[in-house]
Symmetry: C2
Subunit: 365 residues, 2 copies
Amino acid sequence: MYADRRARLRDRCAAAGSPAALVSRPANVRYLAGGSPPGAVLLVGAGDDVLLCPRAPTGDPADGRPDESLRTAVLPASGGDPAVAAVDVARKAGADALAVEEHHLTVARHRAMGSVAPRLRLADLGGAVEQLRIVKDEDEITCLRIAAEIADQALGELLESILVGRTERHLALELERRLVDHGADGAAFPTSVATGPNAGLAAHRPTDRRVEEGDFLSVCLGANYRGYRCEIGRTFVIGTTPADWQIELYDLVFAAQRAGREALSPGTEFREVDRAARQLLDAAGHGGALAPRLGHGVGLEIDEDPQLAPASMGKLDACVPVTVEPGVHLPGRGGVRIDDTLVVRQEADGGPELLTITTKELLAL
Amino acid sequence: MYADRRARLRDRCAAAGSPAALVSRPANVRYLAGGSPPGAVLLVGAGDDVLLCPRAPTGDPADGRPDESLRTAVLPASGGDPAVAAVDVARKAGADALAVEEHHLTVARHRAMGSVAPRLRLADLGGAVEQLRIVKDEDEITCLRIAAEIADQALGELLESILVGRTERHLALELERRLVDHGADGAAFPTSVATGPNAGLAAHRPTDRRVEEGDFLSVCLGANYRGYRCEIGRTFVIGTTPADWQIELYDLVFAAQRAGREALSPGTEFREVDRAARQLLDAAGHGGALAPRLGHGVGLEIDEDPQLAPASMGKLDACVPVTVEPGVHLPGRGGVRIDDTLVVRQEADGGPELLTITTKELLAL
């Protein structure tokens, strides 16, 4: 499988005139090599493919397990930058050009690479590996499905506990502990818990504010399972009965989120999915304060292509996992966010597959 | 204070021929501006200094609070990269050269910056801000002292709890929760808990291994307090009586760590501090497996200059906080690491100031 992915990359590079490529962005290394020990870089298309590591891989599961059919070279203790060592390997293998990830390498590192082999032309690989990563295979989707199950379990347990009086920070830490309890390799991203006036803010970082009766409580979390990251966000009301404005706002965001989910199908333009949800929120007068996008791809990173945004060009394919996460925040009062991870599927296969299945009813806790 | 720091940077830049500089590395932005909202960059020396932010700062304490005397410019929602916008500001202010952080900017970003103002020369600021950050003022040391107190408290509480049967992962999560309980803004770095054969490994990532009787247990953690990060590492024995080999190994690492601490004084070469500890471990036959350095600076990042390593050039100054963290790991058996954060002080001021004061006796828990 990893060898197939590397073959596809070599084909792309050869077509672009640089048969050899150096991959340095960790998620890209992991995608092509099966594992990404800290600092490792992958050289493909210059002799045998080789994973250059600054030190011996520790076998840490969080790094993944490098493909056994792939050659691994461990640099000596004072071996310097593996990317520089890789340039030297490519030169000795007779490559005259090497495509590198200019969106990941720093200027200083790129210069050091250029200086060890002045006659080797450094070209730009651009986002070639990121493009390969957009459509997932069923093994990848299985990892995402398990990650989503873990997040659902952690969230479900939180809902059964007493919430009033506890701080955002503590609830976030407890959720992260529960993710690990249920088998996650860690949180997919920093867990967000937002109460009262903070509720509904995107990527709110937890504070010492305590949950109070009558609050909106919005939570966004995700699990990392074998490197694959999902995302779920829900908003609840604390106390016995939601206020009218809370029910109204919730119903609106829910309708927008449903419209976004229902727009997910192979061939639909990214911006059409965004528009399906955005126009409902816009019509209700919340257009000015909306986030610049409705959702994004997920996989080995929590924020990947595609972007579901008004100016985003391109169309969805089957087997692309994305988030659909509209939100409205009313300054001083709080707000609502609802966030799911789904996989785009053909109509004949049942349409979009919802990975995060926690209820989206407005629960009063 | 922040204005003084920026004035010192402007002086340095002017002396190097580029009166204007663009700072993009987040810890450097925070050092000079008081805060670093996500994605913000700081332009100094081209007209008024200005902090360019991709969106309005949220006031999140984890980002710090930007200096009120500093101009802040928030880019429009689709404003693109603040570093590119900053180039345009510098050009309009009449700058003919701009020093940038080539060790932080990617090649792609640097190119985008160059293309908006082809006649503005982009020079390299190098590690100029990192150099300014090495010697700390007393306010910074106060933050580090509080961070160390928090870490000591979290570790102390863990030692009072039952450890046998609990996993490395759970102990690590509990330590991180306790750090936040005691007022940390978060963990300074991922907490490491290592038991049995894992004990003594540097930066070991916690696994599902459970603590057993007779294990070495090594723990490394730190608190982030107002952006400042400290580090403490201790090794314990689980059960009633340590084995002879455990006592022997512990005494050796302890002696090496003490030698390193005692070598800390203004004017001492970095490599001399490393050598003081390394020669003891070397003489005992552990030289081959030692980490490449004894310790490093700490501050707004957990790993800063100076490097206490054999090939490191330079001498210690007063008011430089560093870690001293030797360790020995015996494959299959485990090992010992002892790690403190100290501030280099003049002899007349009492010599090195130990910030992390948890006992270094070999405790049997």
